[in-house]
């Protein structure tokens, strides 16, 4: 009889307009490493948030250690022995590592906080894990990778029965990843179960005992990891053959429209140089924190750069503001469309026309009629699914929201488009539409830089690939030479 530490039975969770989880059943044995794989939006995060008390399931039950329980919030989850390592950092940057580890449970001696003891214990703990920072360091002084390690340490510091790790290696370098693997294997020996969520299938095969695949809110398959092949897992994740995953682009690659020479932003990126051609999709690959967004920000004028030269159509320009970048025909679709790509409180028309209000003027003043008409044309062209353009941006699905952001930049007729994680948080069908759109734009003569952390995507869609690591350009690969191994080895090199 298997000893299950966790059983989730027939979990269903609905959100307005979508069923996030449909009759999902999921079991984890004591002391096993259980991988949970699936695409963005498949439901893995939702399932884990239910486990952690952030959401409540509409139907179904949770059984922990043989007892049925209800988990109402994160604290209850912790109290029952469930720990979750988030993808986003939940650290207080102004405080020290030790204080973050001991947050809300600072040890006291004689009634007062025992700082000496806390720092000592914390340092011992950090050293025992093999991490390379001090308990006294302030979080704001640490790199993204180190911060991720602190998050992991937070969860390990308390005795848990089950730990969930959501993309824990997304910010880590190879050395740190190896340390993490050791830690996880240690946990298994101690009888602690680990749910491991990751896109990196190599990790799944390396670490896990069991794998569960989720797609579109349902469990597609579940079983010992050894019984799956890589292709099988990918096919089950995606639901169709992977060959048709990326549409083929047909167009000529023209002359150089953008030339970047030795761009440096102190402490962030160093000596980045590359060229971008008309009709080309240039991929930017690399781990999170490798500096790709920083390069985009520099070119788009969102952040200043310390050294380097930017040439547009052969003309040297010094870009000091986003407005100027727009004038130079550069547009940036930001990583976080909800925060910086759209104004969620406004309707679609406003969101689309904001980049080129001159176009909606009748004479010297804005014509709302003209505005609506032009926005509608663009919306139809991009196939944005919405009952009305007066709909607020917040009400659209992720895929449609991203289309609106595209529409926004197409409205200003920019020639150079920088896309930062354009398909993040979008379902499979919409992703494909975005790929088609990218190809169409390239075929129309635009030049595209595509920043993406999804290897298959960035390899499949680009004509050429630039790989960054630690703020430096590690290499450039042509489409033929860009294999996942080649890209990865450049991306993790130091």
């Amino acid at each position: 009889m298997d000893d299950f530490i966790l059983e989730m039975h027939h979990i269903t969770k609905r959100f307005p307009g979508v069923v996030a989880l449909n009759d999902v059943s999921f079991k984890v044995r004591r002391g096993e490493i259980h991988a949970l794989v699936g695409e963005n939006g498949a439901g893995k995060s939702t399932l884990m948030k239910i486990l952690n008390g952030v959401y409540q399931a509409d139907e179904g039950s949770i059984v922990l250690n043989g007892e049925q329980t209800i988990i109402r919030n994160t604290n209850e989850a912790k109290a029952k022995g469930l720990g979750l390592v988030f993808q986003e950092f939940n650290l207080v940057n102004s405080l020290s590592v030790a204080e973050n580890l001991y947050i809300n449970r600072l040890t006291r001696r004689h009634g007062r906080v025992d700082w000496k003891g806390i720092y000592k214990e914390a340092q011992q703990f950090i050293d025992s894990l093999g991490f390379n920072f001090n308990a006294t360091d302030k979080i704001e002084e640490l790199s993204a990778a180190q911060r991720q390690l602190v998050e992991i340490a937070k969860v390990l510091a308390i005795k848990m029965d089950l730990i969930v790790m959501d993309e824990p290696t997304s910010s880590l370098t190879t050395t740190e990843t190896e340390i993490l693997y050791k830690i996880i294997k240690n946990l298994k020996q101690q009888g602690v179960s680990v749910i491991y969520i990751s896109h990196k299938l190599e990790e799944v095969f390396k670490l896990s005992d069991t794998t569960t695949i989720i797609r579109d809110g349902e469990v597609v398959d579940s079983g010992p990891t050894s019984t799956f092949t890589r292709n099988q897992i990918v096919e089950k994740m995606v639901g169709r053959s992977i060959d048709t995953e990326f549409p083929h682009k047909q167009c000529e690659i023209g002359e150089v429209v953008l030339k970047v020479d030795h761009i440096t932003r102190n402490g962030l990126i160093e000596d980045i140089s590359f060229e971008l051609h008309k009709g080309e999709i240039l991929g930017f690959a690399g781990l999170i924190g490798s500096g790709r967004t920083e390069v985009a920000e520099a070119i788009f004028g969102a952040e200043p750069y310390d050294k380097g030269v930017i040439e547009i159509q052969g003309k040297k320009v010094a870009i000091h503001s986003t407005h100027q970048a727009k004038q130079e025909s550069i547009g940036l679709l930001t990583e976080d469309r909800k925060e910086t790509g759209l104004v969620l409180a406004y309707n679609l028309i406003w969101n689309i026309t904001i980049t080129n209000l001159d176009k909606v003027k009748n004479g010297r003043f804005i014509s709302e009629k003209k505005e609506a008409k032009l926005a509608a044309e663009l919306s139809k062209d991009l196939n944005i699914k919405t009952p009305s353009l007066k709909q607020y941006a917040i009400n659209l699905s992720g895929g449609n929201q991203q289309k609106v952001v595209f529409a926004k930049w197409l409205f200003s007729d920019v020639d150079i488009l920088i896309l930062d994680e354009p398909t993040r948080g979008i379902d499979v069908g919409a992703k494909y539409e975005i790929y088609l759109l990218m190809n169409r734009l390239a075929e129309q003569g635009k030049a595209i830089i595509m920043i993406s952390s999804e290897l298959p995507e960035v390899i499949g869609m680009s004509d050429r690939l630039v790989v960054l690591s630690g703020g430096r350009k590690m290499g450039e690969l042509s489409h033929e030479k860009a294999t996942p191994e080649a890209v990865m080895s450049l991306a993790v090199s130091n």
Binding site: R14, F15, P16, G17, V54, Y55, A302, S321, T322, H323, A325, K326, G331, L332, T334, E339, T340, G341, L342, V343, A345, Y346, W350, I354, T355, L357, D358, F365, I366, P387, I394, N395, K408, S412
Partner: protein, 356 residues
């Protein structure tokens, strides 16, 4: 199995913020709750009507045309200041220096009007000169506010403190000029005096309102101002000239205050350093009652105008009821709290109407 909807209700889906986190929940709401949204839209008009009715019952003369005109004229300067404040608020900030700007402008206006050299020039030119100077002074102060705000990329918090500090500095400058004296009006009759008589102040207010509303809705600047107030990062990432827009918004706000200062002198006939006291407060109240969210990104001048009318009628009604000016201060504060609290409550229930 879909549950049957009870009668007289509609299915609204909410995204409710609870303790800082968003939780989705499906709620069946009675149609009455949906009325809250409607109330916010037409509540202003309702309020004006209700207040008018009550006041007329107490004192029938309230409803006379003369009285209405008096109220509008008395509140015309507050109105103009409110429009300027509205620009600042829509842009996501605030301007607490309006009061001192009005004082300073009033004081300087009085000096110009009373000076012997100016008296010899044709009265019409003197009047225009004074208007221009007033607007210019206001523009300068607003520009300084705007420049600092643009340099520090400030939002609500920064605008509070910085404009408050400006209020102190400008107030002191006004005092220094006047050396604490109370100046009485001595101007000859002429165009300047006309500014403050009859329907002229109201015309000024309406003209300013129309111009500013037009700018908001029909120009790139206005649209950019909305975006700036709603989400500064998104505005920047859309290629908007965020700093320039913020600078202009504060400058225009200052200009409004300057204009109000000139008209106040014309209307009241004297100027003291206390002239502008509490103006920023009143302006804020009018803006808040007008339904403009103090978070920025929404609102309009027309609504602020309605807000001015509500406040004007309400304060006058309170006067009739014999409420002291000190107690009226309490009322103003209470209005701000309630208006903002309602606004926040409204925001937290982000209505998402799903096509049924």
């Amino acid at each position: 199995m879909r549950r049957q909807l009870p009668k007289r209700s509609c299915r609204l889906q909410f995204q409710i913020e609870r303790g800082g986190r968003y939780m989705e929940s499906n709620v069946i709401v009675s149609r009455r709750k949906k009325l809250i949204g409607v109330l916010r839209e037409w509540g202003l008009v309702f309020s004006i009507i209700i207040i008018t009715v009550i006041a007329t019952i107490i004192r029938p003369a309230f409803l006379s045309g003369q009285n209405m005109l008096n109220i509008l004229r008395a509140y015309s300067t507050i109105g103009i200041a409110s429009f300027g404040m509205a620009y600042a608020v829509i842009g996501g900030g605030m301007d607490l220096s309006i009061g001192s700007t009005i004082s300073l402008t009033a004081v300087i206006t009085m000096l110009i009007v009373n000076s012997s050299t100016v008296a010899t020039v044709a009265p019409a030119s003197a009047a225009l000169l004074v208007l221009l100077v007033g607007i210019l002074i206001g523009a300068t102060i607003g520009a300084i506010n705007g420049a600092i705000m643009a340099a520090v990329n400030g939002k609500l918090a920064e605008s509070f403190i910085i404009t408050y500090a400006m209020q102190i500095v400008v107030g002191a400058i006004a005092q220094a000029i006047v050396r604490g004296n109370f100046q009485a009006a001595q101007y000859r009759s002429g165009l300047f005096k006309e500014f403050g008589i009859g329907i002229t102040p109201v015309l000024f207010m309406l003209a300013v309102a129309l111009i500013m509303q037009f700018l908001l809705v029909k120009t790139k600047f206005g649209r950019s101002l909305y975006f700036l107030g709603s989400n500064m990062s998104a505005a920047k990432m859309a290629g908007l000239k965020v700093r320039k827009v913020r600078f202009l918004a504060h400058t225009i706000c200052g200009m409004c205050a300057g204009l109000a200062g000139v008209i106040v002198v014309a209307r009241v006939g004297s100027a003291s350093v206390l002239q502008g006291q509490n103006y920023e407060l009143d302006a804020l109240v009018c803006v808040a009652i007008g339904g403009t969210s103090l978070d920025g990104g929404t609102g309009s001048i027309m609504r602020t105008l309605l807000g001015v009318m509500v406040v004007g009628f309400m304060m006058t009604a309170l006067n009739i009821l014999g409420v002291q000016s000190n107690a009226q201060l309490i009322v103003r504060g209470a209005i701000i709290v309630s208006a903002v609290a309602l606004d926040v409550l409204n925001k937290n229930l982000k209505l998402r109407e799903v096509a049924q």
